[in-house]
């Protein structure tokens, strides 16, 4: 593919120059397939891969095939932001009910539906989450607030 773009002709039958070289003149092959070496080696490779797979935090096997892209996306958000988002939402609700509410002429308390929709639409971005709730937020401060409440 890379090195040879053209297709070369097949070798003519009985071409002695194209016959296999003696085994003794070839490099050493890898151990045969049934060798216990492969079990040890596969274990070694898996020891490296398993931690990597664990931090991927993907849905369980089969979930991707059966679920729609939308539900997969929501699951992903839930996995990543579940606890953090709930804590942030609780903090936000407390702020709205106590602090901000007293200083605004027309207090605005988001309904539970508003809150849920805002969480989904924010896609894990704390700045977006605050903006969805009508509160202009500095990106750095928003992230710091989230990091502060993250368990």
């Amino acid at each position: 593919m890379d090195d040879i773009e053209h297709h070369e002709p097949s070798p003519p039958n009985g071409d002695p120059e194209g016959a296999p070289l003696p085994r003794s003149h070839l490099p050493e092959p890898r151990p045969v397939a049934a060798d216990a070496y492969w079990d040890h080696y596969a274990r070694r490779v898996m020891d490296e891969l398993e931690p990597m797979l664990a931090v991927r935090k993907k849905p369980a096997a089969g979930a991707v095939e059966e679920s729609s892209p939308q539900s997969s996306w929501m699951t992903e958000i839930g996995d990543r932001w579940g606890v953090t988002a709930l804590l942030a939402a609780a903090s936000l609700a407390a702020l709205l009910a106590v602090g901000i509410g007293e200083r605004t002429a027309e207090p605005r308390s988001p309904s539970p539906d508003d809150m849920a929709l805002a969480l989904i639409a924010a896609g894990g971005d704390p700045t977006l989450l605050w903006e969805r709730l009508g509160i202009p937020a500095d990106p750095v401060l928003a992230w710091l607030t989230f990091d502060g409440v993250r368990p």
Partner: protein, 191 residues
């Protein structure tokens, strides 16, 4: 998991994308030997072959989200193995040359004539293999050294069995010519 043994590479890879550890292990066990065989066409030290093959699986897992399960898995993994091996060669070319040179020198000084001749032949073989185009060298490695069938080698490399056979044929001719000084190579071929 039941049925894993028969699951296709592509199905297993899709499950790995979803975080399935068992599917990952199936793929690793299925491909440790072919990946090492491919890597061995680039590097020769057994420990280095193991390291590069392991890096191949690590890179493959990192890139698994970019794999399209509608396409064959083996050539995708093969490309990763090639790239990892090439990078290793580029990074360690100087060290490798110095290391081999000093080892060859030490071997010639320490070993009897016959072993020294063997070492010389091995070095000549390595040079001849290194002069082969990459695909030709890999096809030769898989078929003649690892004794895979042309169909299996073609499946891994993503080329037809006929192209594999053609690569192997031309590789044999090149090696036979390059090693012509060793009479038994040409004699056995003729006989």
């Amino acid at each position: 998991m039941q049925g894993d043994e028969d699951a296709t590479d592509e199905v297993l890879a899709r499950r790995v994308q979803a975080g399935d550890r068992i599917a990952l292990e199936r793929l690793v066990r299925r491909y440790v030997r072919p990946v090492q065989a491919v890597v061995a066409s680039f590097v020769s030290e057994p420990a280095e072959i193991e390291d590069v093959a392991q890096d191949t699986f690590i890179r493959a897992l990192r890139a698994i989200d970019g794999y399209d399960p509608a396409r064959p898995f083996a050539p995708w993994l093969y490309q990763i193995a090639r790239n990892v091996a090439r990078n290793r060669i580029d990074a360690e070319a100087v060290r490798r040359t110095e290391s081999l040179s000093s080892r060859d020198l030490a071997a010639r000084e320490a070993q009897p004539d016959r072993l020294a001749e063997d070492a010389e032949f091995r070095a000549q073989l390595a040079r001849a293999l290194g002069a082969l185009p990459e695909q030709r060298r890999t096809a030769f490695r898989l078929v003649d050294v690892e004794e895979m069938g042309a169909a299996e080698a073609g499946r891994i490399m993503g080329i037809t069995p006929g192209t594999v056979r053609s690569h192997v044929h031309h590789a044999r001719r090149h090696l036979r010519s390059a090693l012509a000084a060793h009479a038994d190579v040409t004699e056995e071929a003729g006989g």
